[in-house]
C-alpha cells in the first residue's frame, strides 16, 4: 500500500470541509476521487500535498507518517501535484518549467552556481537531459523554447504534468486534468495517464469528466459534502444509489 488516509478531517472555522475521510491507494493504481462541486476533493489534495494541515487524521505514505509535512517536504518524499487552474511559470520556457521541477532532486547551491565546477555543470547537463526526456514523454517535443503562456491550453496541461513528473514522484496527484479539453485532447490525456502509471508512478486523479474517470480508474472514492459516501471499482460506483443521489438528487 502506497498511501493510507485515515479519518482525515479539515475544518475552516465553523465549516467542515472534510469529515473522517479514509481510503487506501495501492502501488500502481489509478485512483479516482470524484464528487460534486464543493465536495472537498481539492481540500483533500491540499491536505495531502502540504498546502493545508488536516485538523485531524493521518496520512501514511510508503509506510511513513507524512501528516502536516510542508509542500516542499512532500515533494521531496515523492508526492507531486498539478493544479486545477493551471499554474505554470508563465514567463519561462516550457523546458525551463520542467527544469524547475528537478529542483528537489538536485542540490547545486550558490557556490556551485558561481564557480560552475564539474559537479554543477554535470548536474546541469543531467537536468537538461531529463527535462528534454520528460517533454518527449508528454509529447511536447519541439515546444522547448516556447514560453509556457504561449502554449495552447491542452499543451499547458501536459506541460504541468511533465513538471510534476520531473520531481521523480511515487504518487502524482492530478487535479482535474481534463477540464476544458476537447474530446481528442481528452483521449490523448487518458493515454498519457495510463503511460504514467505504466512507468511506475501511482496516480491520484480528481476529475469530473466521467469518460475519463470510468475509462481509466482502477478504484474510485466518492466525496459529497466533505464525507466519503462510496468507494470501490468504477462498475460498482456507477450503480451505487447513494452516488447517483449525490449527483442527480433524490426523488421525492
Amino acid at each position: 500500500m502506497l498511501l493510507k488516509a485515515q479519518n482525515i478531517t479539515k475544518q475552516f472555522g465553523g465549516l467542515r470541509a472534510l469529515q473522517d475521510v479514509s481510503f487506501d491507494i495501492e502501488q500502481g493504481q489509478i485512483f479516482g476521487l470524484i464528487g460534486p462541486n464543493g465536495a472537498g476533493k481539492t481540500t483533500l489534495f491540499n491536505c495531502l500535498t502540504g498546502t493545508y494541515r488536516p485538523t485531524f487524521g493521518k496520512f501514511t505514505f510508503a509506510g511513513k507518517d507524512i501528516t502536516g509535512l510542508s509542500e516542499v517536504k512532500a515533494a521531496q518524499r515523492g508526492i507531486a501535484r498539478t493544479f486545477q487552474n493551471i499554474r505554470l511559470f508563465k514567463e519561462m520556457t516550457a523546458l525551463e518549467n520542467v527544469m524547475v521541477g528537478r529542483h528537489s532532486r538536485t542540490n547545486a547551491g550558490l557556490w556551485g552556481a558561481l564557480v560552475r565546477d564539474k559537479r554543477t555543470s554535470g548536474e546541469e547537463r543531467d537536468i537538461h537531459l531529463r527535462s528534454q526526456q520528460l517533454l518527449g514523454f508528454v509529447e511536447l517535443k519541439g515546444s522547448e523554447d516556447l514560453l509556457a503562456k504561449n502554449l495552447p491550453y491542452g499543451h499547458q496541461r501536459r506541460l504541468e504534468i511533465a513538471r510534476a513528473l520531473a520531481t521523480d514522484p511515487r504518487l502524482i496527484c492530478l487535479d482535474e486534468p481534463a477540464a476544458g479539453m476537447n474530446p481528442s485532447e481528452v483521449s490523448d490525456l487518458m493515454l498519457l495517464i495510463r503511460k504514467i502509471r505504466d512507468s511506475g508512478v501511482t496516480v491520484l486523479l480528481i476529475e469530473h469528466h466521467m469518460k475519463v474517470v470510468m475509462g481509466i480508474c482502477d478504484w474510485l472514492a466518492v466525496l459529497d459534502g466533505g464525507e466519503k459516501i462510496a468507494c470501490g471499482p468504477p462498475e460498482r460506483i456507477r450503480n451505487d444509489p447513494q452516488v447517483i443521489a449525490a449527483y442527480l438528487g433524490t426523488q421525492h
Partner: protein, 375 residues
C-alpha cells in the same frame, strides 16, 4: 497632449500649445518609425546564420566595451569622471536591487537603507576605529546582510503591495534613526573626514582610482548575477516570481530563496555604501532618502527587469541624462516623469529586456498558440 496641459501653468498658453503640438508630432513619427524598424528587424531575422553570427562576437563585443570603459578615464575631465563614478555606483545599486525585484519579483522600496548601513559602517569604523577601506568592505557587507535578514525574515509571508509598504517603512526608519541618533551617527550633520581607500600604503584617493574600484564592483556583481541567473537557484528564483505556490509544489524552498535574494541584494548595497562614503568623504542622512530608493527602482524598471545590460543602461541613463540637461533644470522632473510614463506605455519590458521577456513581447517569429499544432 496632456503634457502640454501640464506645461500650461508655468509656460503660458502659447508655448504650452507648441509643446503639445510638438509632442504630438513626435508621437506620430515615433509610431511611424516603430513600424519601419519592425519591418527592418523582420528582414534581419530572416537572414540565415544570424544565430551563429550573433553568438561568436559576443565575447569580442564585451571585450571591446570593457577596453573602451578601461580607457574612458583618460578621455574625461574631472567633472565628467565624477558623474561617471556616480553613475557606476548607481549601476551597482540597481544591479543589486535587480536580484530581488527583477529575479525574485519582490517589490522592495526601502533598499537604500542597506546602502546607508554600508556607508555609515565605513564612516564610523574608519573615523573612530581606523579600519581601512578594504577591511570595511566585507564588514559592511556582513552588516548589510544582517539588516537584509532582519527585513527578510519578518516579511517572508508578504507579497506585492504589502511587502512594498513594510520595506518602505523600514527605509524610513533607517533614515530617521540616522537623523536622530546624534551621539553615534552625528545626526543631521552627518560624519565628516572619512578617509580615502588605502592599499598597501598606497593612497587610492583620486577619482581615477575610485573609477576602477567602482568598475571592479560592477564586473563582480554582473558576474555573480549572470552566473546565478543561469543556474538551478536562478531558475528557482524566477519560478518563485512567477508562481510561489507552484514553485513550492516543485520542491523549491521559497523561504531560503527569499532570504538568499534579500541577503545578496543587501550585501551589494552595503558594499556600495562603503564606496560612496569613501568617494564623498562625508555621509549624512540626506543622501539616503526615500527618493533614492525610488530612483534605483526606476533604473531597474527603465532598463529592463532581470536584464544585466538593461539595468546598466537604465542606471547610466538616469544619472547622466539629468546632468546633460542641467540647463533645463526647471523642467527636469517633468521630463523625467513624462519619460517614465512614455516608457511604461510604449516599452513596458524596459530598454533592453531580459531574454525571456524579449521572447515574449517582441519576437514576431513566435508561432501563435493555434499554429503550433499537436506535440
Amino acid at each position: 497632449m496632456w503634457i502640454g496641459l501640464l506645461c500650461w501653468p508655468f509656460m503660458g498658453l502659447h508655448s504650452a500649445g507648441i509643446v503639445a503640438v510638438g509632442l504630438l508630432l513626435l508621437f506620430l513619427s515615433f509610431r511611424f518609425f516603430d513600424r519601419k524598424i519592425g519591418a527592418v528587424k523582420n528582414i534581419f531575422q530572416k537572414i540565415p546564420g544570424r544565430e551563429l553570427a550573433g553568438r561568436i562576437p559576443r565575447n569580442l563585443w564585451l571585450g571591446a566595451v570593457l577596453l573602451a570603459v578601461m580607457l574612458l578615464p583618460l578621455a574625461l575631465n574631472k567633472y565628467y569622471l565624477d558623474i561617471t563614478i556616480t553613475a557606476g555606483i548607481y549601476i551597482v545599486l540597481a544591479l543589486g536591487l535587480n536580484i530581488i525585484v527583477g529575479l525574485a519579483g519582490l517589490l522592495v522600496l526601502g533598499y537604500i537603507a542597506f546602502y546607508a548601513a554600508g556607508a555609515y559602517a565605513y564612516a564610523i569604523l574608519s573615523t573612530q576605529y581606523h579600519v581601512s577601506f578594504f577591511a570595511a568592505l566585507p564588514a559592511a557587507a556582513v552588516l548589510a546582510l544582517l539588516f537584509g535578514l532582519a527585513l527578510g525574515v519578518p516579511t517572508l509571508r508578504l507579497r506585492g503591495d504589502y511587502l512594498a509598504i513594510v520595506t518602505l517603512g523600514f527605509g524610513e526608519i533607517a533614515r530617521i534613526v540616522l537623523n536622530n541618533w546624534d551621539s553615534f551617527t552625528g545626526g543631521p550633520n552627518g560624519i565628516m573626514h572619512i578617509p580615502k581607500p588605502l592599499l598597501f600604503g598606497l593612497k587610492l584617493g583620486s577619482p581615477v582610482h575610485l573609477y576602477f574600484i567602482v568598475l571592479a564592483m560592477i564586473l563582480l556583481v554582473s558576474f555573480v548575477i549572470d552566473r546565478l541567473n543561469n543556474s538551478r537557484l536562478g531558475r528557482a528564483l524566477v519560478a518563485m516570481r512567477e508562481d510561489e505556490t507552484a514553485a513550492r509544489a516543485c520542491g523549491v524552498n521559497t523561504v531560503k530563496l527569499k532570504l538568499l535574494a534579500f541577503s545578496l541584494s543587501a550585501m551589494t548595497a552595503g558594499m556600495m555604501g562603503v564606496v560612496f562614503a569613501a568617494k564623498m568623504s562625508f555621509v549624512s542622512p540626506e543622501s539616503f532618502t526615500f527618493w533614492e530608493s525610488i530612483m534605483v527602482l526606476c533604473m531597474v524598471v527603465l532598463g529592463g527587469m532581470a536584464s544585466i545590460p538593461g539595468v546598466i543602461l537604465g542606471a547610466a541613463a538616469l544619472v547622466v541624462l539629468p546632468e546633460v540637461f542641467r540647463q533645463f533644470q526647471n523642467y527636469r522632473m517633468l521630463v523625467f516623469g513624462a519619460a517614465m510614463v512614455a516608457m511604461m506605455i510604449f516599452r513596458p519590458q524596459g530598454l533592453l529586456p531580459s531574454k525571456r521577456r524579449r521572447l515574449e513581447l517582441e519576437d514576431p517569429t513566435l508561432p501563435s498558440p493555434d499554429e503550433s499544432g499537436e506535440g
